[in-house]
Amino acid sequence: MKVSSAVLRARGLVKQHGHGQGRVRAVDEVDLEVPEGQTLAVMGPSGCGKSTLLHLLGGLERPSAGEVWLAGRRVDTLSERALARLRRRSVGFVFQAFHLMEELSAAENVELPALLAGFSRREARRRAGFLLEQVGLTGRARHLPSQLSGGQRQRVAIARALANEPLVILADEPTGNLDSTATLDVLRIFEELRAAGQTLVMVTHDERVAATADRLISMRDGMFVDDTRLAGDATGWLGGLIGLEG
């Protein structure tokens, strides 16, 4: 593993819902470091706190306790405004339900975050064209989301998440609403992002999506119970399958 600084860091992270007896810790004292270029998958049963964790890391929710650092800067104490600016410039989100702007074309949906992050109109347009090509949707650039399939919409959403050249992409059940063919398209893109060194944190209950990551964390009841490296040395196991006996 190459030596690199953590892009994303959390210390003693807690998110508590409710009070007194009905108090629930959705995220319970979590420490995390995500080095630059790492793709990390967080898995666990529904209700284990993985989505809440992602929201805390992306500054969509504020922790009850603990710290979140993005590129060496503490973010959980920022004002709403500063936080919104940081999200626009440094984070890309991919959601289960796509959340595209229905009245904008695919290309405009991708351009928008680039513009908000401070790219010029021309740069934003060029970037959108490039990214839509990356996700195989050049021919659909002028289509409205309603004219696209679920898989195509999610690919637009991934292109959009990349538009601001984010330090990190946060993906929440990115294949949760997709059939298996569309899931494969997303897998392929995630595999390319991994190879390209894009830092990415995803939460998922789909082992196939998780298997595209460099590292896998398992979560139960708000806590990490396992942390495994997936990428790296091939086990040679696949080759062994073809020992088709004489």
């Binding site: 196939r208 990551a213 896998l216 495994t228 990428a231 399958l241």
Partner: protein, 191 residues
């Protein structure tokens, strides 16, 4: 392997090297690791068993890769029987299941830890298989084989989840978290 080679000869008599190329194409990346001599060894065995004959040899007579093999009537029959046969590889889960029970009974190891270690290994295999599938060129038939391996690994992972749930329930965890009932054990298969 013998049955597969025989069945491939049903299309037309072939050279060993041609059969080998067809096997490799069907298996994709998996076929890369195939021992080059394996097809010839298999053909020699089939010949001894009277299931194939060497029809002729092109060029140098004593080079096995120049021999053209064809099915004998007995070979034909065996191919037909093979195609009609319903067989499926056994999933060998009993051994792991017994390992968990023995480990727990003798307090040799924590079954939940054993499940976690197994899960890590299967996820690594899933990652490897999936990468191999993504690396296959478009239209490759081998993708279908890799897809089958992926689906089996997913099924095994689901079973490990069930094991984990069951064994966490059995151990009553550490008991200091005042959480009655444990996890959703009623939700048999998980999502």
């Amino acid at each position: 392997m013998q049955d597969a080679v025989l069945a491939m000869l049903a299309k037309e008599p072939s050279h060993g090297y041609h059969l080998r190329a067809r096997l490799r194409q069907s298996l994709g990346l998996l076929g890369e690791s195939m021992n080059p001599g394996q097809v010839y060894v298999t053909l020699a065995r089939l010949e001894r068993a009277g299931l194939v004959v060497c029809e002729r040899a092109d060029g140098l007579p004593d080079r096995p890769e120049r021999k053209v093999y064809a099915l004998t009537p007995a070979g034909q029959e065996r191919v037909t029987a093979w195609l009609a046969e319903v067989s499926w590889p056994k999933p060998d889960l009993a051994e792991f299941h017994l390992k968990l029970i023995a480990a727990a009974a003798a307090r040799l190891a924590d079954p939940i830890e054993l499940v976690a270690a197994q899960r890590r290994e299967l996820l690594r295999r899933l990652a490897e298989t999936q990468r191999a599938a993504l690396a296959e060129p478009a239209g490759s038939r081998a993708v279908l084989l890799l897809e089958g391996i992926v689906l089996r690994l997913q099924a095994d992972l689901r079973w490990l989840e069930a094991c984990e749930r069951a064994w966490s329930g059995a151990a009553g965890k550490t008991g200091d978290e005042g959480e009655p009932g444990g996890r959703d054990d009623d939700e048999a298969e998980g999502a």
